[in-house]
Symmetry: C2
Subunit: 340 residues, 2 copies
Amino acid sequence: MKDTSPIAQMPALGLDMGGTKILAAVVDARGKIRARVKMPTQAEDGPEAVVKRVAKSVFAVIEESKLKLDDIGAMGISIPCPTDPLVGFVENAVNLGWLNFPAKKKLEKAIGRPIWLENDVNAGTYGEFRYGAAQGRQDVFGIFAGTGIGGGVIIGGKMHRGFNKTAGEVGHIVMKVDGPVQGGGFPGTFEALASRTALTKWLTKQIKKGRKSVLKKLIKAEKKKGGKGIHIRSGMIKDAAESGDKMVLEGLDRIARILGMATASVVHVLGPEMVVLGGGLMEACGNYLMPTVKKTVEKFTFEIERRNMDVVMAQLGDDAGILGAAAIARDAAATSAQAR
Amino acid sequence: MKDTSPIAQMPALGLDMGGTKILAAVVDARGKIRARVKMPTQAEDGPEAVVKRVAKSVFAVIEESKLKLDDIGAMGISIPCPTDPLVGFVENAVNLGWLNFPAKKKLEKAIGRPIWLENDVNAGTYGEFRYGAAQGRQDVFGIFAGTGIGGGVIIGGKMHRGFNKTAGEVGHIVMKVDGPVQGGGFPGTFEALASRTALTKWLTKQIKKGRKSVLKKLIKAEKKKGGKGIHIRSGMIKDAAESGDKMVLEGLDRIARILGMATASVVHVLGPEMVVLGGGLMEACGNYLMPTVKKTVEKFTFEIERRNMDVVMAQLGDDAGILGAAAIARDAAATSAQAR
């Protein structure tokens, strides 16, 4: 289908509307980024102001790409909340502070073109599927670990959104009955055990217990720069791991075991062809996490389940979202143009 | 499609090849069972003998239905192991003692007709989807709890088998990191926490601790009949629950909480339209389990995830497997006849 529709060969726009920043890109049909623009979201100004800033980013990045609005075959915008792309109504986007906001309608009015509104982790998974680690695979599960943990499901080469367009929320599966709570989540979930938040909590506790670690020095250096309390960034964890710090390596290993068990659980339930692991923590510390993740998947699955099934690191980093948003919008537009 | 293919209107045969018994039925297009036959599996005689007994059951039930072999539009046989219906090779069916056995080929030779070989829990889920609790739904997850816990996935009205045809193995998801082991399974899995086996283990432990329960009397009565050790059947658990036995009700509530959390996990990952809970324990004690299951699902999911999403008890009992095997074979045959 993609070969015969002209839209399939046209550049598409992908935009990632995050809680802190807006990333926009013009992406050609091969997944090459021809131009990119970054702006602060400034969500505190309210949804109408953010919509204006999104439209501004769209026009700016198209100008940057030296193309015109009509050269863009499709536009995909990702948003950090569940949404039905065909409706595009946002009930509650916590990170943006949006409540019951007709996002698709408002964005289309501001931009003057139809848009495809997609959940951000779905877009990231689709990006890895079309241009990254999962190219050519048909049944893919994406797990993205950062502050929280999100996921995306591709079945038979198509985004699986589920009955209420909420599928993929793997961060909320229970992995420790009556276990710890994270944020407004449920007790004992995957993300309460294995997100960067969970890791930094554990590391902080170890430091307070008086355990030796180079992390103490790194935290002090961070405080001198004006940081308050104990703040541990992914980069600091990586630096400590690279210096061979035992405490940090132990912490990463604990997280990796949980990531492995969760991957195994996804394999049991869905039988994917590939599980792609991404997100900030994985990007920074993937080399330290992956060996234990893979060993744990082997321990917690049957041989028949993991035959020719791969567990790999994501390849596109921060670009997965914009690439995925562009691709999913283009694929949807090309398919519907074909159907006409 | 189903309306225009003659196969879709013909009776089909469904057969459930279990570890202890073979159940066979002739099922009309509306899901009515026109004849049924039951035989012991006698798996200890080896696969070739069992294949003969299956063929015998097939011919017996067709005779019983007063139909002829040519009146049967399709034949579905379910088996307690993963299998690719198009290949039908069995690598390891533990309950049957089959290893690397070309089951489809052997069965087709013995019966003289093409058969559709399907995993037993997939067949059960498909039965509930076509004729039971999930009729008219498109995205369905079946969870069947008995000695172990199995599951089946229907997406977009079709059986989802996954890349290695192993999807639905929800009993092996980790729900308690470093938790108890059951049989040859992995530590802390759903089935190690919430199968009938897990429940009877807990009940036995309570009794040994000296806790009061009518179950003691029931076990004694069972022993007089010739049973050895402590043997607790689903029916005894039901009887004890009906008499208001506190220990047994507490045990059921513990299981129900885990069932609810597992259901919530499936909802997070797949976003189904309906989760159907079946199996021996659910059939016997569903009325005691379901209120806590539902309450727990509410506690462990977001409102948007469970909107118009139902969690219900299976309706077909032991017949789900034979009805599902017949229906899935008929639907597959009707679709491929259409495609020709």
